[in-house]
Symmetry: C2
Subunit: 150 residues, 2 copies
């Protein structure tokens, strides 16, 4: 189990890989982002995406699963208050197998909440060709070791 003290600036934590299917792209879009270029191949071809692509919110949700399975499940994470920057860099296509990494930028013990600390990450997700499709700056709170032991 990793606690706040176990994160070091510069450290790179791999995300789990994730295959994105055409069916999943359309199902997510139908529920949460029913714009034509996420639902229909013909409409998508005429759009700036140039073909069917996942909703950006589908990509961020998939990122979360990749982070949970990759390394977050082995930590005592206490949640995140937000994301400082989210960039959808390229379309995510049917059949893409995504991979990625969370890089530790900074660690800071909390003054207002003793026993907790915040780790700032730059997360990056790549498509099958190794091109970045998503980049985020995201602080996550973790319990310190001594607090968890009580």
């Amino acid at each position: 189990m990793r606690y706040f003290e176990d994160f070091q600036p510069g450290e790179k934590l791999p995300l789990a890989t994730y295959e994105v299917t055409r069916e999943a792209i359309i199902a997510f879009a139908a529920e949460f982002d029913p714009q034509p270029f996420h639902l229909d191949e013909a409409a998508a071809s005429r759009s700036m995406l140039g073909g069917l692509a996942a909703s950006g919110w589908h990509t961020t949700a998939i990122f979360m699963r990749m982070m949970c399975d990759g390394w977050l499940h082995d930590t005592d994470a206490a949640g995140a208050g937000g994301v400082d920057e989210t960039r959808w860099l390229r379309p995510v296509r049917p059949g893409d197998v995504l991979s990625g990494v969370s890089e530790v930028l900074e660690v800071k013990a909390s003054r207002s909440r003793p026993g907790f600390g915040t780790v700032r990450f730059r997360h990056e997700v790549w498509n099958g060709a190794g091109e970045p499709v998503l980049r985020m700056l995201n602080p996550i709170a973790f319990r310190c070791r001594q607090t968890s032991a009580t």
Copy 2:
């Protein structure tokens, strides 16, 4: 149909309302964010969330649907490259009926892509008690009127 020229700074566009169910919170978390406090009431009670709450990525996906149904479907939106700031301000609970608004902060015609312009929004989502649960700063690209007519 609204085009880039139709957005005015200060304008407030209401989001559609959306009821969040316990079943949907757990289903989304099981697929994308399987942390105990999004899946299990007992674990959630012991966490900083103080009870079962939606994944933040579920809340952003729901926001997208509220924006599509509220006003985006009547526009010629061409996509968004990212979000400048995402803040999860309060937990979203089972039974919450969410509402919200997109406020136009700034409009800027594109120099690099003639016929397009970017509208910067501050989106805010509230719970049933009218308390903010999500706030985002988000530029979205729209086609200009003359481009769409060709």
